[in-house]
Assembly symmetry: C2
């Protein structure tokens, strides 16, 4: 089994930077600040409409670097594989991983596989570390956020969470919804050309609501969101209504939330809209004086507080 | 449980480079070639004489960088934790991880934890990626090896494999053997000051025999090992005799195998001996003309071939 596994990974991921015999590999890096990120992927099911745990591992890693203002360059990849895991399935997953890495311009430079006992690892876990480079002296981060700043989202929220939910088949619902999982690098690069960009984040676990809560917690400002302005696809809305979920808490894997100075918000919106993945972007609210609350102006004109997520509504979806 | 886990990791691993809120963190790196390595740790039992899965994750990562000629600088750490895993035990393991990182001079700069269902992760899996820096233009690697070169080992082999074996308690044997798990950085740095150093590797999975087989496979030379010269502690020898294992195939986690030009072998031995961890180092053989075989001259003066390991004799010990 070990040989079969090695063959699958090397066939899909072989590249000049990946030396299977080396203890450690050199990374040719351009000038700039070297950035590191890491994430573990334990999603169930392993394959879902719009992606697999393999493409998700790449997109999750690439996106964490992209929203930090970096260009992703290299990844390390660890696979923890259950003994007896179907090779054809592993092949599909690694192929989708390799395709996502290729599209995202990132090289899998180091890797390792471990085979564990039957019943362990839910079939397959993936862990990735990502290395990127960003310009030095970039003023980007939660500490740059000001009162009056505008909140943008690059596209509809909750697609990934809903797609994974339906793929589990435990709810007896079917739909043609696909995950939004994708590299957000074209979106972050477009935003970085806009002056007044303060902060970017991809709303994965805990969704849009969780990102906005993090913004208010660190900045100390109140966030005022405009419910009718938040893009949610009709099928996502209807699945959420049926099952009692709030799309604001569901994971996205290909969206960006950005905070921009108000005088540059229109330009940021244009920059996003010029990208295929940003066509449905929207201004969804702004930051007001001190408060640390997240206030939603509802479709009916009322107001309600968006609470912080206590527990992940859907474990292991990202 | 998620909060408890976050608290344990931050308490032990908090450092200025570890920003729990960031998607990606900048790595201040000195001039030189940036090196990347990664490994997954699924050892059972999670605690054993001389270490834990936590210290092992650090030593394994640090050592892969060290034998590549690099100084380890940063690590990313992923923990996949079974639901209900005892917090006191997690605390001990993360404390030993933090102590090993501190001793090895490596910063845990990025991390992530995932909680999975009961029974799925053998309690705890760890995955680490390591980043180090090494001087540019270093001539170190299997391609530098020449016929006539001398093989050295920095200390007795098989301690880690035997200690883990005994800690499993499934053999009904007890002993006071401890794992040799440790950073080999002082040893590799000492060797790098010796001219004629060609190659270094830490003999982990598959032990000394597997490293020597890799040397002959890539170089095309025959390796001639001298059995009486290979240091093996008497308790390791006696456990192996009782259970039918060959210590040459058992994992070490704190040893270095080095290939050195013959005219500098004595100096390399002196350099190792000057380190506390290298006191029991030895010249164990040399490389001869073409052949790709590993030949062992036995204690009785006979010769036998050391075969390549077909399957790991002890799954999940490193």
């Amino acid at each position: 089994m070990r040989e079969l596994i090695a063959e699958v990974f090397l066939r899909h991921l072989g590249n000049p930077a990946l030396d299977a015999e080396a203890d450690a590999v050199p990374l040719p890096l351009a000038e700039g600040e070297v950035m590191l990120t890491t994430d573990g992927f334990t999603v169930q099911p392993l394959e879902f409409p719009g992606g697999t745990i393999g493409s998700l591992a790449v997109h999750g890693t690439v996106n964490d670097l992209a929203v930090a203002g970096a260009t992703p360059r290299y990844m390390s990849l660890n696979a923890i594989i259950e003994e007896g895991f179907e090779t054809a399935r592993l092949d599909r997953i690694v192929a989708s991983l390799a395709a996502a890495a290729h599209e995202s311009g990132v090289n899998v430079a180091a890797g390792d596989t471990k085979v564990v006992r039957r019943g362990e690892a839910g079939g397959l876990y993936l862990v990735a570390a990502g290395i990127g480079v960003r310009p030095r002296g970039l003023a980007l981060g939660l500490r740059e956020v000001r009162s009056g700043d505008v909140l943008l989202v690059s596209g509809p929220v909750g697609d990934h969470g809903t797609a994974v939910l339906l793929a589990r088949e435990e709810f007896g619902l079917r739909g043609d919804l696909a995950s939004d999982a994708a590299s957000v690098l074209p979106l972050t690069q477009a935003l970085m050309r806009v002056p007044g960009l303060r902060f970017m984040r991809d709303p994965t676990r805990g969704g849009l609501a969780t990102v906005v809560h993090e913004i208010v917690r660190v900045s100390g400002f109140e966030a005022r969101l405009d419910e009718p302005a938040i893009p949610v696809r009709p099928p996502v809305r209807s699945v959420c209504e049926t099952l009692g979920y709030d799309p604001l808490y569901l994971a996205c894997e290909g969206r960006v939330v950005a905070v921009v100075a108000p005088e540059h918000a229109a330009r940021a919106l244009d920059a996003l809209r010029a990208q295929p993945a940003g066509r449905d972007c929207a201004i969804i609210g702004h930051l007001a004086g001190p408060g640390k609350r997240v206030v939603l102006r509802t479709e009916l004109g009322g107001e309600r507080y968006i609470e912080e997520l206590e527990d992940d509504p859907l474990p292991r979806i990202c």
